[in-house]
Amino acid sequence: MEPKMRQDPSLKSRAFRPRERKQAATMNVTRNVEGLLALSQQEQLVDMSNSYPLSASEDEEDSDGERKCQKLLEAISALGGKNRWKLAERSEASLKVSEFSVSSEGSGENLVLSDLLGAAKKLPLLTVVKKQLNRVRSKKTVETPLNKEEAERTLREVAFSRASHTLSKWDPVVVKNRQAEQLVFSMEQEPSAVAPLEHMFSGWKARTPLEQDVLNLLHKNRQPVTDPLLTPVEKASLKAMSLEEAKIHRAELQRARALQSYYEARARREKKIKSKKYHKIVKKGKAKKAQKECEHLLKANPNVALEEVGKIEKARMMERMSLKHQDGGKWAKSKAKMAKFDPEARQARQEQLAKNRVLTQKLQVPPESEEEQECLAEVATLFASEGMSDLSDNAPNPWMSRGDKVQTEPEQLPELGAHEFSKSEGDGRPVVVEDILWKYCEPREFPRKRSELNHNAKPVDRQTDKDSNSLKVLSESMALSQKLSHQPRKHEMSSVGIVKEKREKQQMIDLQNLLSIKTPAVKSLAVPTIEELEGEVERDHRQLIKEAFAGDDVIRDFLKDKREAVEANEPNLDLTLPGWGEWVGAGLKSSTKKRRPLLKTPEGSQRKDKNLPNVIVSEKRNILMAGHQVQVLPLPFTHYQQFERTIQNPVGATWNTQRAFQKLTIPKVSTKPGHIIKPIKAENVGYRSSSRSDLSMLQSNPKGLSRRDYKQMRTCAAD
């Protein structure tokens, strides 16, 4: 309080009006509430100024007389002349001080704000200030700051918790790296930036005598030293023709030369060729040409053309008969194997397949003109007039005769037939009909596949044909075949019944007879002979073994061994040592009392091989083996079974494929020689690293603590 009191007189001397003061005070208060001390000081000043007029009246009563007295004394002394203005002098410490300095009257008691306020109560203008003061009074005072040691300690703690928080973000990365199967350290390779030559030369100067000599030489010959790097002559030559033009020109020339040489080479080559294949190709080309010519002829001169066509047709038939083009031959198979690797083989195969396709194709479109229909009718009548057997004999296609054979076994086939018909249903019935028609037109040309597919239907058709002799019959057969496709079995049965009952039955019987004859023959002959043979062989074998091991009885040896092993393990031994504890000599017997006890096997222990007659299980601990056995379970394993299982799985290349072997023997850490491995970076792992450098953070924030940290510190200190 005292220092503030000391200011009062000066305030007095300044003529502050109370209201102005008050306004100033309120402004101050509103401006900085938190400047607590300053504020309270101001308020006290206000108090003083306000209370001054009141308190002055009381003061003056006793101090007036004194002052007058002093003035008088001064005046008297001034009369003397020398010391007109003698300053007041304080010679001893006193409680009383003059009006210009501080009066410490009543120093024992402090001046309290409330005392001063009590006086101000009467003034209505001060209510605002009073409110503020009350608010201030309700606040606590600031605590004393911590001592330096304590403050530093809390600072450290806060900083440490902060640092460990930032470090904890690395936990997942570290765990991942530790558990990784393989760590590869050949990741980013920075591309080596090549600085341009000019940059390198910019700061360079010739220093050594040698360098200077070289430079002089270059200057003499007008070689550019730094930037252009080309002599004027070189520049001129570059200007003569632009690069693009030159390139185009050169390309043209090249092309012309290449073409020329190509044609020349081709001509030369064709002259020389002896290869069969080549000639084949040439032949083919010629054939194509011929075909075209033929077409021309057909338009111009049909008769000649027909002859030509006949020739071609004949050639085709020959080819078709030869079966050369089939895919199943040895040659074809070998080519199929080689086709993957040998383009020639591939081509040959393709050619063959193409040929096959051509040959097995249906030849012409179905007959539409009247002429052709007539032809068809003729054929039909021909077939009708001749017998079934004749037909089969006459037919040049061997497959055609198969139909009869098939028909002879109707019991076996119907299911098959049904199956196949159901297959062919997808294509639609018209196909079947077509086939039937075509068969009579050109039995030879009938595609084999189809014939196989429909070979059940064919004979039936043929039989029905027998009665008929016109296209009408054919139409009937069409209807029949339709029925057949619906219920093949029934149809067949009926057809058989109607047309050729007798023959059919006879054949069936024959077939049965055949079967009945065959089966006993097999049984009676083959089986017993084989058994007899086997028995003989086995006996011989045994005999041989017996003779070979005539001398040794393995089983007895084994039993003996086992007995020995068992006995060796059972220490039922008499441990008497003659001469120990008694007399020895001829005719003396050791007493039974003094005889040492026998060593007996503990009853609980049983041999593992007790119930296994054919096995000896040795229960001795093999010391030599023990050295190779694992004493302690290695670290990543928690149970010995896990470890055993991993050990059981071989990792070597003998037991694993190359890929698996490589995978199993992958090294834990792979590094590249010559590659600098840098410390792990936050950016590389996907974290954000702070944009500000550590140094700048240090310089900008020497204390390095944010408000949040201060808060944390305070809580720490409170704890």
Binding site: F185, T665, P667, I676, I677, G704
Partner: protein, 426 residues
Amino acid sequence: MKVKMLSRNPDDYVRETKLDLQRVPRNYDPALHPFEVPREYVRALNATKLERVFAKPFLASLDGHRDGVNCLAKHPKSLSTVLSGACDGEVKIWNLTTRKCTRTIQAHEGFVRGICTRFCGTSFFTVGDDKTVKQWKMDGPGYGEEEEPLHTILGKTVYTGIDHHWKDAAFATCGQQVDIWDEQRTSPVCSMTWGFDSISSVKFNPIETFLLGSCASDRNIVLYDMRQATPLKKVILDMRTNTICWNPMEAFIFTAANEDYNLYTFDMRALDTPVMVHLDHVSAVLDVDYSPTGKEFVSASFDKSVRIFPVDKSQSREVYHTKRMQHVICVKWTSDSKYIMCGSDEMNIRLWKANASEKLGRDKEEDECLQPLQMNSRCMLHLVHLFAYILYILFISREMNRRKHSKPGSVPIVSERKKHVLAVVK
């Protein structure tokens, strides 16, 4: 006459491309390859033995210093460049491919206490007994120029160590306190102390670059935060720690080389127990450096040997020593993780392979194939450092004996990890 010929399907023996391996038909039927476990075991055993037989780790020795080599530094950008500082104040720059010294600088009077390179590789810093910090250009002076440092800072006290920040233009020195310097200024940006010590080494964390670790002669290791300019925590061990090294792959792990023959790997966040105590040295450990893969570290010891420890093992994987190598003062693992360099008292820098039996060059693949087999066999204790194991057993039995013959409870069982940490100061 019909000739029967063998014809094989080319699918079985023809390669699709030239780059494919030649196909060798093999039958992997397990019935044809019996006894897989014993055979593999024998193979593994042989591989391990052969590994020992072919272990020729020593590559070269770089001689030229006229006093003991006190400190080593790697070049951050060039694998073939190494810097070394000697006890007579000489700094040499070596080319490892030619194994020759390319440059010699008389840098200080008295010891060169510390040397470090700038992260960009253009310059390096040295501190010496003459109370100076000097910055040098990595390239030699031009023709006719004097060999002079770029900057020289004269300090008030002796600096005993220096390390450069991994990203910023700042470096840290240690002596009576840890100072952090801006490269552009001649006075430290901030100084950090915690009590009065002589600090022997200071190292920046390579990952979280604002962290530093230092070790002082009153047996403590102190961690600092550079951003907040404050120490973080202090751990006091049994004996003095000579130097520490941070793991370059795991931000919070560091290893301390201690005078009590051991190395301690700490997790920075839990200093009260080390993660692992590495035991094999038989004298004070003077220096330690991590492999850049972060899986192993190498330590140099007063017992004239260099040892390689896996981070998670307490026993060393390898020990390198030669007849002529004296107390090894400094050691570094090259940044391609293939080589190790060590500088020793008898003025030589030695270059070793990090994997003793590794073939450097062509036959590498074969070598890699053997590795897991060896790993399998390593599980067998009789192959793993039998001698160390026996010592360990003896040690344990000694303690057991003492416990057995003293008052029950008076010799408590304390785990190895807890034994050596005296206190952690917040």
